[in-house]
Amino acid sequence: MRFWVTLEGREAEVELHAEAGRLWLDVEGRRLEADFRRLPDGEVYSLLVNGRSHEVRVSPAGEHLEVTYGGVTFPVEARHPLEKALQAVQRARGKPAGETIVAPMPGLVVALRVRPGETVRPGQAVAVVEAMKMQNELVAREGGVVSDVLVEERATVAAGQPLLKIRPEQP
């Protein structure tokens, strides 16, 4: 089975074989081999690589995967070659479709810095969300014109909840 894996900004094509708890993975001319078991408590694998014992958690996070290893969690993408090809096509065709500012974590909207119709520069702070007594400023990545403000100040929001929409400025 073939996958494209993106990890720490590097993309690699891997070929994977697995059989009866053993795993062979060919990547960039190297072969990695491991004994694997899925642990009963969730999306956790025990891997034995050359005898070394590793415990790894892999969980879906939106369109990506998250790998937790040694107490550090980092994003990983694993895609089928066809899906990857499609992604490239979409990126090539893609026009900036505006952006949606979402809450990065559950929290309280303590400030909305913009109103509908307002022009926003890239990097401009548009909202402040507070969680655990800490305030986090959310900034617009690309900028444009605020088309929708979807929440009110003092609203409690969930992680990933859209707060406001920004459409590209008309040329």
Partner: protein
């Protein structure tokens, strides 16, 4: 003496759980209070009784004085343990308890009021003959007076709000030119934040260590110092790792330090548990900072080396009983360290992380203590601070305690929310930490989040796991009768693949 039989804990999280444990050992009924989102918090599950006190925001529940007190009266609590934070250092709350005939397990209301004012606390320490950072005795009333003090103290200096605390209302001034704007800014901020624009001046110590003394005082006026705690590893005035004894002290300094702390406590007629905080300059000289009139987050390290239960001592003192050890506190044995486990992501500027604890495995084995306020499946709420728990270890000496902490941190698994476990692993392995060379600037001087990222070996393991996961995902789709096949990313990919081809 008035025996205490029913204690309401006006707090939540790990400290409420920790207090409940001692109450149970003392055969005292533990009474929890909880906000709406805390209905299934660990302290509620652990307690003998639990009562709701309002919505999530602290002001409407844990900081609602009338509600907390009315609950205590209604359920027949004869004492309240405030934990730390919330009402722990609130004189009005302690007074209201007294007026309602409920014992406040802590200092007297007048002591809380007196020591809450930094200038009054400094005056008391000065009267007790304890070393102070050179600075103003009274807050300068005008900029000209401030300039005169600055001339005596010298630059760099620190402007501090008299009513400030927790790192708020402080500003470093490096030269005469900076004094004017800093003077008005600090006064303005102080007025806005604390309703008090009195500001005083202190010499600024560039690389201070933070060392504090644990005090216990009973109603007969007996005061004991249970040694010191070094709390220099801080980020934005939030302590992250504490240890006892301090690697900065020799026996002679330790004795002078303990004696100074006891003098401060006696000067103010202190009652119950408290902490006298000092800072050390680069030469190792110590200066009084302030008194924390509560049980500290980091109290377990003192318990580990003395064998005492500080919460049990607090209850005894509140009953009017003498200190359990009489005039001679137990000699400390070995070394203890505590790592504060917070729900913050060290890879993302320590951004707070909330959500569900998907998986947890606590470290075990010799010399390990977990004070935790969470369990598997627990939802970390958005309303309160990010402290999840404390990992505490004890060893015969500093190096063995450090290795034990490193080992326990490696065992510790918390998944579902980001935590600072990886930060602590980095910290306890750092050569300067190993050498005991600490200061409150340790993190800004040494920490680099990129050091926590996966190394090449970790990336290889991650690659294996991710590929394995992707393969299992795909196999699930292929299984006959798999109901959620339609939502699989692979089906989705197939569908999307056809669309652009059709248009081509």
């Amino acid at each position: 003496m008035r025996p205490i039989r029913r204690v309401l804990i006006a707090n939540r999280g790990e400290i409420a759980v920790r207090v409940i444990r001692t109450l149970r050992e003392l055969d005292i009924t533990s009474i929890a209070v909880f906000s709406e989102p805390d209905r299934v918090a660990y302290h509620v599950i652990m307690a003998d009784e639990a009562y709701p006190i309002g919505p999530g925001p602290s002001r409407e529940s844990y900081l609602n004085l009338e509600r907390v007190l009315a609950t205590a009266v209604r359920v027949g609590a004869d004492a309240i343990h405030p934990g730390y934070g919330f009402f722990a250092e609130n004189a009005a709350f302690a007074q209201a308890c007294e007026d309602a005939g409920i014992t406040f397990i802590g200092p007297r209301p007048a002591t809380l009021a007196g020591l809450g004012d930094k200038l009054a606390a400094r005056a008391a320490a000065r009267a007790a003959g304890v070393p102070m950072v050179p600075g103003s005795v009274t807050p300068p009333a005008t900029l000209d007076q401030a300039r005169d003090v600055a001339k005596q103290v010298g630059y760099p200096l620190m402007l501090k709000a008299a009513a400030g605390g927790g790192g708020k209302g402080m500003r470093v001034v490096r030269d005469d030119a900076g004094l004017e704007s800093a003077w008005s800014l600090t006064r303005g901020e102080s007025l806005a934040a604390f309703g008090d624009d009195r500001v005083y001046i202190e010499r600024f110590i560039e690389r201070p260590r933070h060392v504090e003394a644990q005090i216990l005082a009973d109603a007969s006026g007996r005061v004991a110092c249970l040694g010191e705690r070094e709390c220099s590893v801080q980020r934005r005035h939030q302590k992250l790792l504490e240890e006892t004894p301090s690697p900065a002290f020799d026996d002679a300094t330790r004795a002078r330090f303990a004696e100074a702390a006891v003098r401060v406590a006696k000067q103010v007629g202190y009652l119950n548990a408290g902490t006298v905080e000092f800072i050390l300059d680069e030469s190792g000289a110590f200066y009084f900072l302030e008194v924390n009139t509560r049980l500290q987050v980091e109290h377990p390290v003192t318990e580990m080396v003395t064998g005492l239960d500080l919460v049990a001592e607090q209850v005894r003192i509140a009953e009017g009983a003498p200190l359990s050890f009489g005039d001679t506190p137990p000699a400390p044995r070995g070394w203890a360290m505590e790592a504060r486990i917070v729900a913050e992501d060290p890879l993302a500027g320590f951004m707070p992380s909330v959500g569900r604890i998907e998986r947890v495995r606590f470290p075990q084995g010799p010399g390990v203590r977990n004070d935790a306020g969470f369990y598997r499946g627990y939802e970390v709420p958005i309303f309160y601070d990010s402290l999840l728990g404390k990992l505490v270890v004890h060893g015969p000496d500093r190096e063995q305690a450090r290795r034990r902490l490193a080992r326990a941190l490696r065992e510790f698994v918390i998944e579902g929310v980001h935590t600072n476990l990886s930060f602590h692993r980095w910290l306890v392995a750092h050569p300067e930490f190993v050498a005991g060379n600490l200061s409150t600037r340790f993190i800004e001087e040494h920490f680099d989040p990129t050091l926590l990222g996966p190394d090449a070996a970790a990336a290889e393991v991650a690659l294996l796991a991710a590929a394995l996961h992707a393969r299992e995902d795909r196999l699930r789709v292929a299984l006959p009768g798999s109901g959620d096949g339609a939502r699989s990313p692979w089906r989705w990919a197939e569908r999307r693949r056809r669309a652009p081809q059709g248009k081509r």
